[in-house]
Subunit: 225 residues, 2 copies
DNA sequence: CCGACTTTGTGCACCGGTTCACAAAGGGAT
DNA sequence: ATCCCTTTGTGAACCGGTGCACAAAGTCGG
């Protein structure tokens, strides 16, 4: 059955970490359809990657496959979940409950992955006190207290750009070391704090670049005036 | 040898393209504050990158700097904008006007970068006919007609995962070759079609991985943006 | 007009990540 | 038990990207 789980390499490449959630999603789908084992080739197709890459990624977690057969779906789901830290529950706070913050708070897709929205915080007196996604909107003045009380370890920043750095500083001081930032600013944080940014405007600009190239190619206005 | 500043090598590295919007944002801020010229060092700090990397990135567009002085802010804004295709107006359609689609439609940050929301489309009869962000919500049955009529060249997919591939196929058939996908599925598209995906759930899982590691072992995680 | 100073543009070594290709491992059939 | 077939796990070449370090290019004060 399972080979003696060899000591997992503590240094998993960042690129691999970024793909594990993709494999996990594909595996969940297969488990639901009753698939018991899957080959690297099939899983790779489902996840949209190269099969050699997938095998190398999984090999970083240990030798969980069986040659000639493939990988046990349930077992792999468990191993990847554990590696990503999804066997525990993460308390997430959303700061800034405007257009975007509301959409995130109401999204059900997070809970199903072990991320529980534990608090929503805003500065606008009109909004504070409202109930969003079943949660009472707390005042930004109580940010530190809320983080401590709810055991928040991940903060989602959805405030206007101008407020992002200040809020960031405060949550970091409060002990948070994982931040997902939607505001279009470069946040500066001390070492040891992870910031991941999602910038939709940048995504569109990258698409526009390629679209322009497809359409006109280098034949666009070449003035130099 | 070559003539003075001319559009250089047409093959701009993907990593460079992804950073140009970052430089552009920093430059816009500087222009607003009345800064006329900027050194690679200062701009790099503002954009959160290494200065050598910034210079190499800009060198792909041409020789737009002046040694001993730096870069002319306005001129650089123009050059980067042109390279990214932001000197023209892009018509964007949002398909799926739920939590997320609404937030996107109401967001002002796109228009300011040359992206005009030209249409919003949904399948729900309850929603079709409503006005969102000043636009009439069109029916998904009219998808192809709307794309043609409004000259849409970029589609944002914000439908449930189950509907994403079908909608994707239709917009591709309608001639769209640039898609920004928020649904947690791997889209399959023909060659020549660009798909960029934004998966917030994956971002949280990556944060959780590092968070778990920080809490557990003696190994320190490094920050990344 | 010159020489000191600043900053660009890039050659080069390096590094993480990708892909190919194949030996080794395991299962199943006979 | 042995052979054949499938599929893993990985060595090694390769590739794009990064960052150091510096010569070249340009500014500016005198
Ligand atoms: N909505 C989008 O689709 C979208 C897309 C890309 C980027 N963004 C970015 O995401 C962020 C939020 O966007 P939005 O559309 O939800 O904006 P919004 O204006 O609708 O919401 C911002 C919310 O933050 C609150 N806020 C302001 N200052 C605060 C503070 N100091 N502390 C706590 N809360 C504070 C406001 O009261 C408001 O409720 C912005 O930075 C925006 O640039 C949004
Ligand atoms: N809301 C979030 O914060 C969030 C976060 C991460 C990912 N996502 C993903 O983004 C997508 C949208 O999320 P949401 O929260 O807005 O969901 P939602 O259910 O609120 O909205 C989906 C909308 O799509 C419409 N729709 C359904 N089928 C359609 C079809 N065939 N054609 C056109 N429209 C159709 C529905 O009528 C609905 O209005 C989902 O795939 C979700 O997984 C959302």
């Amino acid at each position: 059955m399972k080979s003696p789980s060899q000591p997992r390499d503590r240094g998993i490449p960042e690129a691999t970490v970024a793909r594990l959630p993709l494999y996990l999603r594909a595996l969940h789908g297969m488990a639901e359809r009753g698939v018991a084992t899957v080959s690297s080739e099939d899983l790779a197709v489902a996840a949209g990657v190269n099969s050699a890459k997938l095998r190398k990624d999984l090999s970083h977690l240990g030798s969980y496959g069986t040659r000639g057969v493939g990988y046990d779906v349930e077992y792999l789901v468990y191993q990847i979940s554990r590696e990503l830290g999804l066997t525990q529950d993460w308390a997430v706070a959303i700061v800034g409950v405007g257009n975007l913050g509301r959409a995130l708070a109401n999204y059900g897709g997070f809970v199903s992955r072990g991320f529980r929205i534990a608090a929503v915080v805003d500065a606008d007196p009109e909004v504070v006190g409202d109930t969003i996604a079943g949660l009472n909107v707390e005042h930004i003045d109580d940010l530190e207290a809320v983080i401590k009380r709810r055991g928040v370890s991940i903060v989602v920043l959805a405030t206007p750009a101008a407020a992002a750095q200040e809020v960031c500083d405060r949550v970091v001081t409060a002990g948070v070391t994982s931040i997902l930032n939607f505001a279009p600013v470069v946040l500066s944080v001390p070492d040891g704090v992870d910031v991941r940014k999602v910038d939709l405007s940048i995504e569109l600009q990258i698409l526009a670049f390629h679209e322009q190239r497809k359409a006109g190619g280098p034949l666009m206005a070449v003035d130099s005036q």
